[in-house]
Symmetry: D2
Subunit: 422 residues, 4 copies
């Protein structure tokens, strides 16, 4: 389904590709510049990576997926980098264990930035001199780097939010107050629906292999909420003893919250009876008029049970999004990098990821691509849950209605929220 053959490009198409590629490269570097030099090498917890590693790994990607196989006489920037900056691709051999990314004092960030330039220039050179190019691979590299932009921002938030000072990373811009709309369910009728990206769309735009092939499902009547849950609503769950009522939880969710003494979403801290929330703009009294985020699947599911509802499946979510989904608040450094409500916008896309009650499994007739490409998505299709929609730190243009994000049900450092269904 995925075509990685070289395809002829028109001049304008190529020009657009080059622009998108350059913009993506620049954005990653922009994010790294938000950090102080002292911070570039810090790995704040086991799921995170140092910023300098993100800078290098996204270059490693273009080098190994595009330049090595397609650019004649391409000379590796450094053989060592294949070991250091391979994330999880067995096809490319041994690699530094993720837990050891904290020891990357070398190479220096300067050298990594040279590496970035070298790779960027070589990709541009490759594009300039070739008219037939494996567009899919280039787009994949871009999408991959965009994913790492989001990951890097979440890693940074984790570091800043877990440091003693909870310093702001960015200045707070004023926003006008928006009262969340009244909660209601949008109703959809039973029937056969198409799920996943169409063959045509794959050929004309980009999508991951895991969104293919398009296939039919039968859905029963369902309702899905017009917006995600607010902080105020979630706080009621806490006040009602949600975190100490086992009957509201899946068994492993209950084990998770009790063992880790979890009493609220990540970045909420109780002080003198009030909740404070750490955001990129710093610590502040919890804003009840904002969407709840940084909850695990377990918390999302427990909340839905508390309310007498449930989480949507990814198919329900996708159909609803197809029919009525609106987008707002993707990554924009002129904002506060935090989810918000907006009048008349249902935020299916942008703002917050939304947990679904669907395991991240292959679609019917899905075939994992061969070689390293097959390791991108296919090998993670177990033990993880699908999130849909993108967030306020998802790069512009990165998200799609068919896009499937996935994390283990206990993860909380992404901007993950709750959209109810029934």
């Amino acid at each position: 389904m995925i075509t990685i053959d070289k395809v002829f490009t028109s001049n304008s198409e190529k020009q657009k590709l080059i622009e998108k590629f350059l913009l993506t490269r620049a954005n990653t570097e922009f994010i790294s510049k938000m950090l102080h030099t002292e911070e570039l090498a810090i790995q704040a917890f086991s799921d995170a990576s140092p910023m300098k590693w993100h800078l290098a790994h996204t270059s490693w990607y273009f080098e190994n997926f595009l330049l090595v196989p397609y650019l004649n006489n391409y000379k590796l920037f450094s053989k060592d980098f294949n070991y250091l900056f391979n994330s999880y691709y067995n096809s490319f051999g041994d690699r530094l264990d993720k837990s050891q990314r904290k020891t990357l004092n070398f190479p220096r960030t300067n050298e990594i930035l040279e590496y970035r330039n070298y790779v960027t220039e070589n990709v541009i050179e490759y594009l300039n001199i070739n008219d037939e190019i494996p567009i899919y691979l280039l787009n994949l590299g871009i999408a991959h780097e965009e994913q790492h932009q989001e990951l890097a921002l979440c890693d940074i938030k984790y570091l800043y939010g877990h440091n003693y000072y909870q310093e702001a990373l960015i200045l707070k811009k004023e926003e006008k107050i928006v009262i969340p709309e009244d909660f209601e369910f949008l109703e959809f009728s039973e029937g056969i629906y198409d799920i996943g990206i169409s063959e045509n769309d794959v050929n004309t735009s980009f999508a991951f292999d895991n969104e293919s092939p398009q296939h039919k499902v039968f859905l029963h009547n369902f309702g899905i909420a017009n917006r995600v849950v607010t902080n105020a609503e979630y706080a009621e769950f806490i006040e009602a003893g949600g975190y100490s009522t086992p009957s509201l939880w899946l068994d492993e969710g209950w084990e998770f919250v009790t063992k880790n003494k979890i009493k609220a979403p990540l970045y909420w801290n109780e002080e003198n009876g009030s909740f404070y929330n750490y955001k990129f703009t710093g610590k502040e009294l919890l804003n009840e008029l904002e969407p709840v985020c940084h909850v695990s699947f377990y918390e999302a599911e427990a909340y839905s049970r508390f309310m007498g509802y449930r989480l949507p499946t990814e198919q329900e979510w996708e159909i609803a999004c197809n029919l009525i989904g609106e987008e707002d608040n993707l990554l924009d450094f002129d904002t506060n990098l935090h989810p918000r409500y907006k009048k008349d916008i249902n935020h299916f896309l942008g703002n917050t990821w939304q947990w679904t009650y669907s395991a991240y499994h292959p679609y019917p007739n899905y075939k994992s691509p061969e070689n390293a490409l097959g390791e991108y998505n296919g090998k993670f299709m177990i033990n993880q849950m699908v999130l849909r929609g993108g967030s306020c730190v998802t790069p512009q243009g990165h998200i799609r209605k068919t896009y499937r994000n996935f994390f283990h049900p206990e993860k909380r450092w992404q901007f993950s929220s709750i959209r109810l269904a029934k």
Copy 2:
């Protein structure tokens, strides 16, 4: 959907219930008698329980779900037993941690058998004096005890198979050799199908809540194998380096086998270049003409990838079973308690559990029952995979076409096997 109200029973219906109940109680005791007194208290590994605990817990179940709420003036056998023999029901309060079941030197098995008798007699008394009874609860107690018979047998096999001597538990009966049928796929056409137990069947026979409600799904064309994989076929996977080829594995599967140094199914041991297999009848040279079993989901999935196929979803499996499924080799102590092939039987039911590539999640519009009943199935609907079909240690009459068993993808001590799909 589940009716736990009291329902009027006819005399003959009641008589049949009493007989089934008594048979089930007797069977559990029969299994316990296979063990030497020295073994009754052993907890061989963290997933297992001592036999004496199984004996007690299955009685605790009838006591707390049936006798306490329905039998007037019922007097608990022992209040302490509520703590000791509660497995995982938060609704019934605190309980002995599973890891501490190894310290159950008290109560003695004699006392537990008295407990069993006391509960059995009270249930019989209750049935005798009442015509309106909560039949569902009674059937649930029976089904629950049957599940523990299967668990107990698997726990016992684990103990015997991991003891240095690998002694036989039962005498080997001669069986005629059956050559497995040629492998082929049975083809099914795309369309809308019904999945799950019908409302009518729930009312007239027994099924678990997790099989409800019946609902529609759309399935694409699919093929499903006419039999499960043989030991010979699985051995080829091993010889071809299956356990050392990361590209064949899901990422967490690869981690599982490498970290635990797994090189073959549970109970296979290599000695001098040949595989030996521990079975209830003792250790023997691997019989290549038998179904492979005691594999994890990870191994099942890797094998399917190695073959260029995949595992079925639980929906595909159920539809195929509905249309052509045949049953053979459920628990029968006159057999070798091991899976086998049989001419012209496809063994969808009985023989071995079959891993599906479906997460154990709620069906559309599933509602977990209230209170303790809701803890039976609903709270486990995360991180586990569905197995279908029953096995050679599943009690007669226990299995159904809609039956959903579930285990974490790494578990191997059940009789779990592989039926391929495409």
Copy 3:
């Protein structure tokens, strides 16, 4: 220093050896008979072993240290037992991991008892037909088996004391109440003292290698308590907040009690503001007039600091014991198997082990014996602390003034108590 050469024995000497050997063998079996068959295979926690393992291992010892090397044409009872019942002797090859002693459903205890008889008979035969015998090895085997009697009793107490019912193992015999003597320090003057067993005593009686060689030490003036600490005195430490005052504790002791939420000695349970104590005779209200026991080194040390005193070194203890030590309350099944006070007896020997502030290290010029014998004591000379004195479950005749017992500082399941020094 240790002579393991064969030495000529007189008839009467040999007769005494035979009697001691037979008595020791009988005593171990007597202990095993205190248990119900259901309990023989239970391993209650990681430091404990099942009783049937103790029965077998003590036989394995005589077989491999005496019969195999010295009895002509001796035929091993079972080659497999070398694997199963070797505790930690690398010289004898691979062995069952201690954590797997819980899977010893086979061999059955009956077979182990046959093994015991076989070994006992062969040892007797060997002794009857030889006049020159390696007396040291025989005595070592006896001492080793006595150690396992004490270990087995402590393992059993752990199982009974951690079972929900805290049943008594033995009937309580009435004892007359003894008021502990007023606490005082016995004073000793500085000077050069001899420590350890003399060469002469090693040759004429038995001692472990770790008590040798006798050597000189210089001790400064010191005082040592006339009795061990009472439960009442220790309870004051608890009431004064001892367990929540970090300045009273060694750093790793503080970590130990906080991490494990330890608030009192092992077997003390607080219920409604009173302490209950589990003893072999069952659970009872804490008897304040008894010696405290089942404390870790950490607790002993913290208590001594709380009192403004310290623990004695093993050299101080030994010199005091040499000069004034009295013995009482070694293993005697006609007692309650619990420490007690007795008028005018200072209980240096018997009653309770006493933690010293001495690491278990080799004495000057200590040489670990060759081969397996060297593994008995020498290889544990790191990270453990010396206890002195023996206890109410130490077999009669087993203890000596020079005897060095050793455990890690956090261990509590032995009868370990506190004798203060200054």
Copy 4:
């Protein structure tokens, strides 16, 4: 024994104190300047701390031990720093868990350097305006900071040596080759000796509390090696199968090397049959003419057993050092920061730490000081072994013949070596 009362200082004495203080402060900052800004916040493994933390913690020390109690109207630089830069002093309240020092992106190093200046200036001011000062506390703060200089250098070496590139930290200076002297034992006669710092020396110079009080010991005749073991000698142990011969090891040492797959000292890597050694000057082929270092106590002890000798006790070491000990190669940035041999120098002091077979316990009549001061040394007197002598990264003037360093027996990241005894 320790006098922390304020004592009158002469002008010249005060001047010397001020100079020593300023030099110590400057040296720590000099070490931090060896690092790239990117590295200042890295915590390379659990025993290490980021350099910026060392910078701050050594200031916290002077602030809390000297300025707060003694300088009138002293204003804390930052209350938060009490939480962030307290290492392990319960007396000063809660503190950041050591594992979380990796999240110290704030405060920035600049701010920490301001903190350093602030503290330095206030100490100077305090000294300038007072003639009666608690000299002990000042010296303790200096000694404490010197210890952190050594720790920081070892932490840095760990980071550099565990990074993929094993880059040099300093330029290699040429050194003339020195053939190690022939190995021989220096003999000492039995008798009563004085151990520990004399009361007089404590009053006129500085020593830690753990070196007091001076006391008498009786030592038997002993011999101690004229130099530490060479790399060549240690390599013979490896070639002879030392790491795969359990009889050479203490039991927990054997467990340590097998579990962690240790086959050589830290920083030795085998490539193509040769050993390479990482040093501050970079990776190089193992120099056989240098002292072995970075071995654990377990390896030191196993090596001594392999040679038929043993390790000295700390008393033997101290007496030998008192009588014949020579010093060479303390911290000097004009050297290669690595141990070496030197003609006619026995290197008891300087060059490498030397493991002793003595547990780190209190001396007779040792009294831990009150309050925080008592936490400095006293609370670690369990489970650790004494090292003597100082190393090539121990600051000049820091070491003494009575100095007791201590680490757990498995630690290897200090410059720890082996001096044999018999």
